[in-house]
């Protein structure tokens, strides 16, 4: 038994696991900023998309079209390499953020998740039955109260499963930020693969951590679904 434990301790997987684990906080840091900001902006964009102001709605629609039609990698590179090459951006205050791979990653991930999230929330808002809104209006709700008490709670509740999917895609998307020299889990795993030529061991170490993160995300969304759908609970 002790021999077995020793052999695990000396194995490459064990060693790599802790190496990759040191990148976990960088991955989580990316998510901690881009997910909440992305959520709020996605809601605002969805409201703008369904609004009756044609110009606003069109602008947001084309934004969503462009972001959903191009790979995230292009967006990350455009922000990291592309914007950095423009002279007046290098001289402006924006450069304080754009010279850091971390902030470039956060900006790119946020831009990306806002487009996907806005489209998801739009589906939720448009699927609300008219009678719900009408009953709110007949009770004398103002526009803001209607939004806060009826439209948003129902819309968010409805789209929780698909927004959960988007959250998992975001966890996976953080790996692309490693291509801008930001050392999160995939970046470290890549370094290990290149150095030791033991790809399977590095993959297992990083893969377990990503699966664990995604597992937590799924549980979190499940909890939210349970919390905000009290009428669907079996025993209450």
């Amino acid at each position: 038994m002790i021999e077995f434990l020793n052999s695990i301790e000396n194995s490459l997987i064990y060693e790599n696991f802790f190496l990759v684990l040191s990148g976990l906080d960088n991955t989580i840091l990316l998510l901690l900023i881009s997910l909440p900001v992305g959520f709020v902006l996605a809601l605002l964009f969805a409201l703008g998309r369904v609004s009756k102001i044609a110009l606003l709605s069109r602008t947001i629609a084309s934004y969503i079209f462009v972001i959903r039609g191009t790979p995230l990698l292009v967006q990350i590179y455009l922000i990291y390499f592309g914007l950095g090459s423009v002279k007046f951006i290098r001289e402006s205050f924006l450069w304080y953020a754009l010279k850091e791979p971390f902030w470039c990653g956060v900006i790119a991930l946020t831009i990306n998740t806002v487009a996907y999230g806005a489209e998801i929330f739009r589906g939720g808002i448009q699927s609300i039955e008219k009678s719900q809104v009408e009953s709110g209006l007949s009770l004398g709700f103002g526009k803001f109260l209607l939004l806060r008490k009826i439209i948003l709670p129902i819309a968010i509740r409805k789209v929780l499963p698909s927004y959960g999917n988007e959250l998992i895609l975001m966890v996976k998307a953080t790996s692309l930020v490693s291509l801008t020299t930001y050392m999160e889990m995939t970046g470290i795993a890549r370094k290990i693969m290149a150095k030791t030529f033991a790809p399977v061991e590095a993959f297992i170490a990083a893969g377990i951590l990503y699966l664990f993160l995604n597992f937590l995300m799924v549980q979190f969304v499940k909890y939210l679904e349970w919390k905000y759908n009290p009428h669907l609970r079996l025993n209450n």
Binding site: P71, Y77, L78, V86, T174, S175, P199, F203, G207, Y210
Partner: protein
């Protein structure tokens, strides 16, 4: 800022290089989508036959690949693919060094990823076929193959087309990750060109526009296919 003159065809610009790169992106997407659909059919088959071991393997495969970043899967196949092929070759008594070319690695890597998404789509559309259809076919004395090709496949295709269209878009965009293996597709080409010309903005925007064209055009194609396959089913 945006240098249009660098995008002309011929020796002065990068137009022709980008055209070839775009074709390469399309080639990788089509090849890996095809291989992915093939793998997906096997995965679905493993999930729907009543066998615990195959179902466990298939579920394990789809859960792990979908829960792990695409880039990591590509790294694994890029760095580890050669070793696996060589160890298989050794079983057959071939001991020389084998190196897979970039296109093969790219196709396999993207196919492995895309198959997990396709399998979910195909499984859902298989389950959408009512049991009565298969029973009716059996009652007519059709054998397993004709049931599969004449009853199941046409309906699965019709149900699955919208989902497969989505998977195609994801696959197309995932090919951009293949640039890390050195295969010259749109993304790699734009990095090469911008390193030579010191103008990343020009070539990255070009890449974005090319991807946008590819996704838009293929979106149209799938719309037409959907209309074609749902003839007789008013929607």
């Amino acid at each position: 800022m945006f240098k249009f003159d660098k995008l002309v065809f011929g020796d002065a610009g990068w137009g022709d290089e980008f055209l070839i790169a775009t074709l390469m992106t399309l080639l990788v997407s089509i090849l890996s989508m095809g291989l992915g659909l093939f793998l997906a059919i096997i995965t679905v088959w493993a999930k729907i036959i009543q066998n615990r071991i195959t179902r466990f393997i298939a579920n394990f495969y789809t859960t792990v690949i979908r829960g792990v970043p695409e880039l990591l899967v590509i790294y694994l196949i890029f760095f580890g693919g050669n070793a696996v092929v060589m160890s298989i070759a050794k079983v057959f008594g071939y001991n020389k060094y084998i190196e897979l070319n970039a296109l093969t690695i790219a196709t396999i890597a993207i196919a492995v990823i895309s198959a997990t998404y396709s399998s979910e789509v195909l499984r859902a559309s298989y389950l959408a076929i009512s049991k009565g259809q298969i029973e009716a076919a059996r009652a007519l004395g059709m054998n397993k193959f004709s049931i599969f090709f004449k009853v199941i496949s046409p309906q699965v295709i019709r149900h699955a087309l919208p989902g497969i269209g989505n998977v195609w878009q994801i696959t197309l965009k995932d090919t951009s990750l293949i640039s890390v293996t050195g295969l010259v597709e749109i993304m790699r080409q734009s990095r090469i060109s911008s390193n030579v010309e010191h103008s990343p903005l020009t070539f990255l925007i070009t890449a974005a526009i090319l991807y946008l064209c590819l996704t838009t055009i293929s979106g149209r194609v799938f719309k037409t296919l959907e209309v074609n396959y749902s003839k007789g089913f008013s929607t």
